[in-house]
Symmetry: C2
Subunit: 694 residues, 2 copies
């Protein structure tokens, strides 16, 4: 692990580019660092003294060990000062200076990278706001706000987004521990930090703002961290237009959003869709316990808002708990007769503090209620602040409570009181339901396995197959076409139709006799759409004639009518059918092997109904991939149609993941269609295409 202690818990800090001039970044940083409890060494050849401290011409002049260098000199000067830092034996650096790859100066960035490597300096930035650690009053940023101590850590790829969060935090009473503006990520990546944050006991929630990930270690690192601490991420650049803006913004290449979503899902990251959601989730995760089941109770003094919250429950996978009998009895005694004892519990417009208290305490004790949403609107009899006080008294570390006091002037005070006392207060009941749903979502995510025995077994088997068939595989890869691609898959125990390549009419006739129903198709890597080219014939009466037709159509397909060397022959293959699905593999620059699946035909073509998984894909995750398809119901069998062999599809997804992992030379695989048979009868690859890296 990189020396993060030098960065977050230094005993001495050099500020290279410190300044006495207000308005300069080097001034703001000095000012912010003055509250730091360790030793400070401003470095600037122009000054003798800064903020009352002795100022040095160079870090080499400092007669003390320096743990951390904070660098704010112009970009061009950074290599020189970093070199000096290296000589001085500095262990950590935060390069604030901008003017590197984000404006196209990639050469300069490379130069600095070499120095970092040479001296092994843990370096954050360049082009960043800096870092903070509230637990030792370390504010190595040029921002205005130093937040309260707390359990949240943020890693942000944008200084402005970070600043906005810090600016909001006093209003919501959010507290932080380590804060990192990560900048261009010349050295320290998100994954390095994950490892460090894992063991930091002050941190209970990790927040990421991401524009683009650069390191392949990311997925592994978040998988480990998310098992112990919730990670909430906002990633911008979803749409194509958005991605364009990212590139011009930080020079970071945004990957395809679907793959990010898959990575977040597999990594156990909770993805916030908007900035507002990000803040809402920080609020609940930093203050409330998790929710193991999805059944909640709602208390409201306004039926309408109860209904709106209920509307949202379905959207977010939340259920309204059935209250226990004893709860109902308690409520019947305490509530007016006109109140219906149901969930949402409408305690009616004239509800006073006492009624709120009774309702909430009853629900807190109810075993069927796993979380509470308390809604209040300003009514004649309602005293918002008093109700808030009761809620704070009833808060527990066993059961999450969120509130939505809907209104403005009348509930302002109550809202801040709640927030000050660790109870999230949302603008609308809808946000409350959404936030609770994430607590539940995380509870489920953190128990998910990243690896299973089956995956292990497949990997071992496939490794052996790879080792024992080196020559065969080499030969197949040297001459890839539908037939050889399928043979490659068959070698790994994947079912393909029985088939033979006929080089001439006579062979075709002979092979056809061995099969019951069969398909004849041209074998040529150069003909992409075989059917359209007239090169597929199903079960012809005259096999010889069909052979000739196919060969002739293939000739017509090429401009020069020349097929010598680009046609392998005609594949005579057992006819197979079943529900058509697509399973494909590709290699993502950042996340590595990716498997995609979706149902054939309109589902993929028109509705883009596909899902992605990143290696390692467990059986559990492969199931999830299928279940997340809108068309999943078709696999399960709808309206009298048979259930399909889902298990065999899951198996194939897992296997393709392992194949992509083991055979690095493969760029893409398409199994399209795969025919899925009825439950228990497996599936069979109808057509396959393998593309190798160049």
């Amino acid at each position: 692990m990189k020396n993060f202690d030098a960065i977050f818990n230094p005993k001495s800090i050099a500020i290279i580019g410190a300044s006495n001039t207000e308005g300069k970044v080097g001034y703001s940083i000095m000012k912010n660092l003055m509250s730091f409890e360790g030793r400070l060494y401003p470095i600037n050849p122009k000054y003798d003294e800064i903020f009352g401290l002795k100022c040095y011409k160079s870090i080499l002049d400092v007669d003390d060990e320096v743990d951390l260098a904070v660098i704010v000199v112009p970009a061009q000067a950074v290599p020189k000062v970093m070199e000096e830092c290296g000589e001085k034996g500095v262990k950590g650096a935060v390069i604030i200076s901008a003017g590197f790859s984000e404006v196209g100066n990639c050469g300069l960035e490379e130069e600095v990278k070499k120095i970092i490597k040479k001296y092994n300096i843990a370096t954050i930035g360049p082009n960043c706001l800096g870092i903070m650690n509230t637990y030792n009053n370390l504010n190595a940023t040029f921002g205005k706000i130093f937040p309260n101590k707390g359990n949240i850590s943020i890693i942000s790829q944008s200084g402005a987004v970070l600043t906005a969060i810090l600016d909001i935090s006093p209003l919501l009473n959010l507290g932080f521990s380590k804060i990192i503006s990560i900048g261009n990520k010349i050295d320290v990546q998100e994954s390095d930090l994950m490892e460090y944050l894992m063991s930091d006991e002050t941190i209970e929630v990790v927040v990421l703002y991401i524009e683009g990930i650069k390191d392949r270690g990311f997925l592994n690192a978040v998988k480990k961290l998310s098992k112990v601490k919730p990670i909430i991420a906002l990633k911008s650049g979803r749409t194509e237009e958005g991605s364009k803006a990212v590139s011009s913004h930080t020079g970071s290449l945004a990957g395809s959003d679907e793959i990010y979503s898959a990575a977040f899902k597999e990594g156990g990251i909770l993805r916030a869709e908007t900035f507002e959601e990000l803040v809402n989730l920080m609020h609940i995760f930093s203050t409330q316990p998790l929710m193991e089941s999805n059944e909640i109770g709602i208390v409201t003094n306004a039926g309408g808002f109860g209904v709106m919250a209920t509307d949202m429950c379905e959207k977010y996978g939340i259920k309204l708990a059935n209250f226990e009998e004893k709860t109902k009895e308690k409520l019947r005694k305490k509530l007016p007769k006109t109140a219906t004892i149901s969930n949402p519990l409408d305690i009616i417009g004239d509800a006073d503090t006492e009624r709120y208290k009774n309702a909430i305490s009853s629900l807190m004790e109810d075993k069927n209620v796993n979380g509470l949403l308390i809604i209040l609107t300003p009514q004649e009899m309602t005293k918002p602040l008093e109700v808030a006080e009761e809620i704070v008294k009833l808060k527990s570390n066993k059961k999450p409570i969120v509130t939505s006091f809907v209104g403005g002037v009348s509930i302002k005070g109550a809202k801040s009181y709640l927030r000050k006392n660790g109870i999230p207060s949302y603008i609308t009941p809808e946000s409350g339901v959404e936030a609770l749903s994430y607590l539940y979502k995380y509870s489920k995510m953190k128990t998910k396995e990243d690896w299973d025995e089956y995956l292990e077994k497949v990997k071992e088997e496939f490794e052996e197959i790879k080792n024992n068939n080196k020559e065969t595989i080499e030969k197949l890869f040297a001459n890839l076409n539908e037939y050889t691609a399928k043979k490659f898959l068959e070698l790994h125990g994947i079912k393909i139709p029985r088939g033979y390549i006929a080089k001439n009419k006579e062979e075709a006739i002979r092979y056809a006799k061995e099969l019951d129903r069969f398909v004849m198709k041209i074998v040529s890597p150069n003909i992409m759409h075989k059917s359209d080219a007239g090169c597929v014939v199903i079960n012809p009466d005259d096999v010889g004639e069909a052979f000739e037709t196919i060969i002739n159509n293939a000739k017509k397909y090429f401009e020069d009518n020349e097929i010598e060397g680009i046609i392998e022959g005609v594949l005579i293959e057992e006819f197979v059918d079943g529900l058509e699905i697509i399973i494909g593999g590709k290699r993502d620059d950042i996340f590595g092997p990716v498997v995609m699946t979706g149902l054939g035909g309109v589902f993929v073509e028109v509705l883009k109904d596909v899902s992605f998984g990143i290696y390692p894909i467990t059986k559990e995750y492969a199931y999830e991939m299928l279940k997340s398809l809108k068309s999943y119901k078709i696999l399960e069998g709808v309206r009298g149609r048979p259930k399909r062999d889902i298990e065999s599809v899951v198996d194939l997804i897992v296997k393709l993941g392992v194949i992509m992992e083991l055979y690095d030379e493969i760029k893409e695989i398409d199994m399209n269609p795969v025919f899925v048979k009825e439950d228990g009868k497996g599936c069979c690859v109808g057509d396959a295409l393998i593309i190798l890296k160049k």
Copy 2:
């Protein structure tokens, strides 16, 4: 039109149930009404004086004309006092009292209804908060807040939702004109009010909170009003769970949410999805001009938020404008060299007030920019309040501006300044984009036709057909089955396959000879799934045998093997194919004739991909119905498949709407499948089912 002037502009008001006791509703109302500029008459046999005014035992004792009665007596006493109001000649009433249909006392409500009819009293409520008119200081509610004068009118079915909005309004500087808590809608319905609000010049935006609509006039009324004033509606009770909660809340029956959505769409209503969205939309519509085109400009000092806003643009159908050349030139001169001149316009983290001013004014003058989103995060150089002041100076009634100052403590003052000066300030850039998109959406909606010549023509034609074929239709309806249902459609010029009913083998053989390819199916209203019952045969070699098989299978279908009287024969019908779609009609209790359409097979069954229209359905709207289908692309022809005859489907939808309108005896029609042929070749009804009202 009802006498709404008596309600909103009364000269004299009687408060029946007025009280001197604090805490009572009758007290709060008296207190609120004291600022009213007309004459007040408190009525309560218990008091001689209330709030210094003479109190009367009965309204009949008042020696003056009374325009409006506000009634707060217990529910049981309401009929008596309403009767007295009638005798007194009161023209308008607001019944605040609860305890009617919402708690099951429907009889009591009916009783009051009769009195209202007898005396023709325009009555709002019961079970409501009351009404307000800010323009004459009329506050006939028991709420705490009387809002500022302004251009918004609210009609709310929930007092609490209304209260919450009013409570928020000072923070956002929202101003109101007429405010109506509509309660159980015993007399005055939303539609009545629409008509009244239309001509009220103080009102520019109408807001509805709806739990359930009761009157059929609603759609027509909103269609008219939305042409001149934007209507924003929040409807709760979307999901089944939600609907359940509605029923127990106000006793109002929530209709199916899809039909509400269709009604809102056709009625030109902007539907807010959440309470937060409702408030956001009130904010923009009450302060900003409309946006005729969907191209906006974004100015930001934080790249990350620019990207997030861009991400949202696609979601909401908003485009980023290409700036004019002269704008680019201006910007190049005024912005630092490191700023890229593109949209979003990132004026970089060190942007000061001057830079904001230059960027905004340039974009305000750009013809390609139809609306502006200004994003600000609290940075070192940024002075939020100063920027806010510049924005207010640059505001125009030609081009909408919204802002999103993202942060908390640093931007609080600037936010209120913006709001005070009529510029919406949203929590996040995403909400800003969303709000702008609604301005554009409304611009498009208000120019939509509700009626077209074609619809007129079809209606006239069908009326004639109906009149000229009374007997035929009566006969067909007396004996409805697939064959007669199709004949009924054919009578209206709808294409069905050529076909005959064979009563015996010989007839079957004879008819089959007349057709090229054909289908044979049983004709019996008692066999729902003909194929499953083995009662459909396609193009058999031996027609006689097929006839017998069908008849035998039909016998087996019934337990007693008896088909006498329930089988009409076997339909021998020309074989038709094409893309299968479904078009159906039903009659909604509230909105009347509804037409549904969707693509056949998995699209309807698995994905529930259907859309609805309510009569009158114009060609334009029928197109929209089709275009809103996820599977619409299939009709357009995807991946080499042919474009289908969309025009003919549109025609069929329009016609089915008219049929449902003209034939009130029809409860439901299913045309399933309709075979849609290639473009220009029309469509043909494959099967039809008509169900009459009992």
